[in-house]
Symmetry: C2
Subunit: 331 residues, 2 copies
DNA sequence: GAAAATTCTGGGAGCGCTCCCAGCTTGGGG
DNA sequence: CCCCAAGCTGGGAGCGCTCCCAGAATTTTC
């Protein structure tokens, strides 16, 4: 920077101010500095800057989820890409971290404490996940994607309206004449799955149907969707609708239904959750699904984190994003 | 650190040495320092360390690929996760960057030049991608995943044996009696697709078959696999096998075949490429595919990058990883 | 048992930047 | 015409660490 300043004929201080467009720099000086920087191919040393500003310009994106789920669920791909784009717009770098095993937790905390990142965006912590507690102790600015599992107050989060999504699904099925509406859940220690289950149950009861025996547990994978649906079918041969808590499980459900000789949607209707832009319309038949927009979720999360980092005294709360029903052919 | 040193009753220097387990520190001093650090909950300031060592401890993972592909192709999910795990083992952080548009290139370069990362792992640059050239000019240590598009010498890369994969597919199909073996390509400006196409053509010619009219261009997406297969079928109604250059396109091919009333594998055999651990076996029928191991690729890439960063004078070369044929039911 | 080698320690310098403060310049109001 | 506020500039300090070097403590060697 010294060189740039010399080349521009100003002092280090003025150069620094110009480069960071601070107040109190004359137009002339600013232009000269910027020109000099360009000509000299100068780019500031991030480490030195961080050392004094105590900001790294990086945000950690933490996926606290078993490996298999993150790998297969296209929802996470959307999240990662959305996070990158949103962080780009605020000039932040994206540090990606996976937390698969319990061993990863201390390492992640250690890292975050080391000041490598200014804050973190944490996705999908499930019930009993030690990460949120550790994070809170470490006093690191964190925004959660989805309601943090261990119902802690005082967390900043952006969630989808999972309960309402389930209601939309059930009502749509009910209105098209279905009366035996089963569900294939996600892992129930996962708040989203728990909320969807609750929404499903309430919606059934609201229209006077009995949820007993109509729920089978899955784990968000396609294979689990298939086996859960098979079990459901064995237990309730008169099943006429399946609400799967992810598109991937809906795909599994369709496989099971096909294997059992049921036609979709003629014999059994299927509704998914996620409305993944390529997966859902590509299915056979195209999947009716609860639409949620991960990009919007990430945008809100980034916004929240930024105001947190900006020192604003944001009240910790969970922002709930609406979901909608996307009707295609499967229901 | 000063505090830790004082608490341990040694000097700053000794504390630093102990923390970085340098040579020439007595056991006693080391233990005291480590103990003090633990008790005081000290964790070193990365920025200060970077400033003097000129190392950040972070590696950028760059996905130079159109958005849609990265989002949908489960191959990239495997790559990201593998990269994280491999980088973890060498204590490096993972900075994720997507390069979708031409505008992203200068920003990416700027960033890497700024010394935010020690090196980069760059995936899937296609022909005409300006990134590799820019990267070379910037003298940043880079290892490519897949052969870099613009056939530059002097690049470090880890690729799969795409030609041989195509050969394996064709030979398997030929040996099971298929004689009209079509292919659905990926984007041909993508080296992997180009190599697979060449392998397919050579293999056909090697057994005395004519590749004319039997190739249709796709772009690695499921939709393109479907439409390309439909076109292939229209042109060559006697088609009895499809070699799709990705599992996702194989899924599309199956859809098209089903729509045309062809049975798989009875009428038309289908082989994919990637052998994605959850996608391929989940298909109906389970997909025969060319198996490649992204984890192994990433491991080699990280190893290469590390020796590059370690100052070793590694000869730039493309390491070629073998692929195998995974036989399931579709062919 | 002294000299030489070896292991260990502490202080000083400096990495490249931002921030604070003092000072210098300009212009407008009393 | 002087004073004071506001706009702008430059130098000094210091962020928290690692590295270098000189010197102290310990061991080895003849």
């Amino acid at each position: 920077m010294e060189d740039v300043a010399a080349y521009a004929g100003v002092s280090r201080s003025t150069a620094s101010r110009a480069l960071n467009d601070d107040a109190y720099v004359s137009m002339r000086a600013k232009e000269k500095v910027l020109g000099a920087a360009r000509e000299l191919g100068y780019s500031p040393n991030q480490a030195a800057r961080s050392l004094v500003t105590r900001r790294t310009g990086a945000v950690a994106v933490v996926l606290s989820e078993p490996e298999a789920n993150v790998l297969d669920d296209p929802y996470f791909a959307s999240v990662m890409h959305g996070a990158f784009r949103e962080l780009s717009t605020v000039g932040a770098q994206m540090l990606l971290m996976f937390v698969d095993t319990r061993d990863d937790v201390p390492r992640t905390i250690k890292f975050l404490e080391g000041g490598h990142a200014d804050g973190a965006l944490v996705f999908a912590p499930h019930k009993g996940d030690p990460l949120p507690t550790a994070l809170r102790l470490a006093r690191i600015p964190v925004v959660y994607g989805g309601r943090p599992g261990n119902g802690k107050r005082g967390a900043h989060a952006v969630d989808f309206d999972n309960k309402d999504g389930a209601r939309l699904a059930v009502e749509h099925l009910y209105n098209s004449g279905r009366r035996r509406i089963g569900t294939v859940t996600g892992m129930l220690d996962h708040p989203a799955a728990a909320d969807r289950l609750e929404g499903w149950r309430h919606a059934l009861e609201a229209v006077g149907l009995d949820p007993t025996d109509l729920s089978e547990d899955g784990d968000f994978t396609m294979a689990s969707g298939e086996s859960a649906t098979a079990k459901l079918l064995a237990r309730c041969p008169d099943l006429d609708a399946v609400f799967a808590m992810s598109d991937l499980m809906a795909a599994g459900a369709m496989k099971a239904l096909r294997a059992a000789g049921r036609r979709v949607p003629d014999d059994v209707a299927v509704i998914g959750f996620d409305d993944h832009p390529t997966l859902a319309p590509a299915m056979e038949p195209p999947l009716t699904s609860i639409h949620q927009d991960p990009r919007q979720q990430v945008r809100q999360m980034v916004r929240k984190l930024m105001s947190l980092l900006g020192g604003e005294d944001v009240r910790p709360e969970t922002t709930v994003l609406p979901v909608t029903l996307m009707v295609r052919d499967s229901a």
